[in-house]
Symmetry: C2
Amino acid sequence: MISAILLGTGNVANHLIDTFLQSKDVDLVQVYGRNSANLKLIRDKVCTTSEINQLKNADVYIIAISDDAIQEFSSQITIKNKLIVHTSGSVSMDALSFHKNRGVFYPLQTFTKNKPVNFKEIPICLETNRSENYKLLEQLAKSISNHVYNIDSNQRKYIHLAAVFTNNFVNYMYKIGNDICTENNIPFKILYPLILETAKKIKNNNPANIQTGPAVRNDTKTIEKQINLLNNQQQQIYKQLTQAIKNTYGKKL
Amino acid sequence: MISAILLGTGNVANHLIDTFLQSKDVDLVQVYGRNSANLKLIRDKVCTTSEINQLKNADVYIIAISDDAIQEFSSQITIKNKLIVHTSGSVSMDALSFHKNRGVFYPLQTFTKNKPVNFKEIPICLETNRSENYKLLEQLAKSISNHVYNIDSNQRKYIHLAAVFTNNFVNYMYKIGNDICTENNIPFKILYPLILETAKKIKNNNPANIQTGPAVRNDTKTIEKQINLLNNQQQQIYKQLTQAIKNTYGKKL
């Protein structure tokens, strides 16, 4: 049994609270939060506090708050010698350098409020500044997920960057698809099976090997016709991505 | 019972052949193909021919060949007065204008060779030049899919365009994510749950309302740091999509 205290009551924090409470291997000792409305919602499930000086004793303290606030907030934690970690993909472990024993516990997933997730399937990226703490953090991570990775701060930077392309920018492509459909009285849901299959396909295929479409075929006629159907900003994106695909695959044609 | 003849032995054709053969409501009378190796693979399952003048009698003739070849190929079909359709998202129905009764039977999905699909879940976009033929084509489509849409050639053009963004360009985003991971010794599969959840999320959410990431937060510090981690071409794409997201959401910030 490993004991943990969670600091934060936002989206990621709430998903972790529910997951820890369901785990037989984790004792969620306490949740700290400044937002009293959020705290109220969870105080039936777990012991809570809004006083940073009243943190109880636990093996691991997990800071799950917004990226910008992590460094300053961590300096307010007066607990000594215990392992303090944050859950951010883009903040360096050394934002916690006020603490001798520090680390990162980064669940690589996009969370939706009130939509339960199966944490067993979510990759968790771990890092600690001292190797003796790694086992402890790994024990905590493995108690909730089957996919635990040792990822240093430099690699985590690149994972976060890859996620910007595969999550943020992909969602923006969905948005453009939705705009195009709406403007032409087409239900966007007609694209849903295609979108899902496109995502599923890369589980067993390197995306570089399954690129399709007018750009990779160098189908100039279709490309020109399609550009004329788009608004200005969509045109710029279409042209640039088409050119990038041509650059990537051009030599193979 | 509706009878059909399929012309073509490529990827889409093969998926249709298997689906029609499994359907109790469709009689797949014959398959035409020029590629004798491909024909050989299916002649145990269905009657085949490589002679365009030896097509049998059927209610519907479905041309499932590459976009560029449809128009010229269709003029070689000497069958008169029967409904002839193609399966392309980007070719106009009038590419079949050699035929008095013409239409489109466009399954909106990305197909992988030898990976069976559940056609019931695949949207099929239908169009006919004569309303009296629509019912016939609809009967065929509904015998294999639960999602049949009446989509005219103009709308289909836009669906195909939206698919370029949500399938082709999305796959290219996956490719960049894979490149970033590979270069930094990170297993790309670590991103797979995020990618799948991103695709699933839009089933119940308008993508415009769930945009996340440094661009929509206008997090200039992270944006600058991330740009410096990318190669030239990746930088250009990152900058343009970041700017587009800022333009879209700027007023709301």
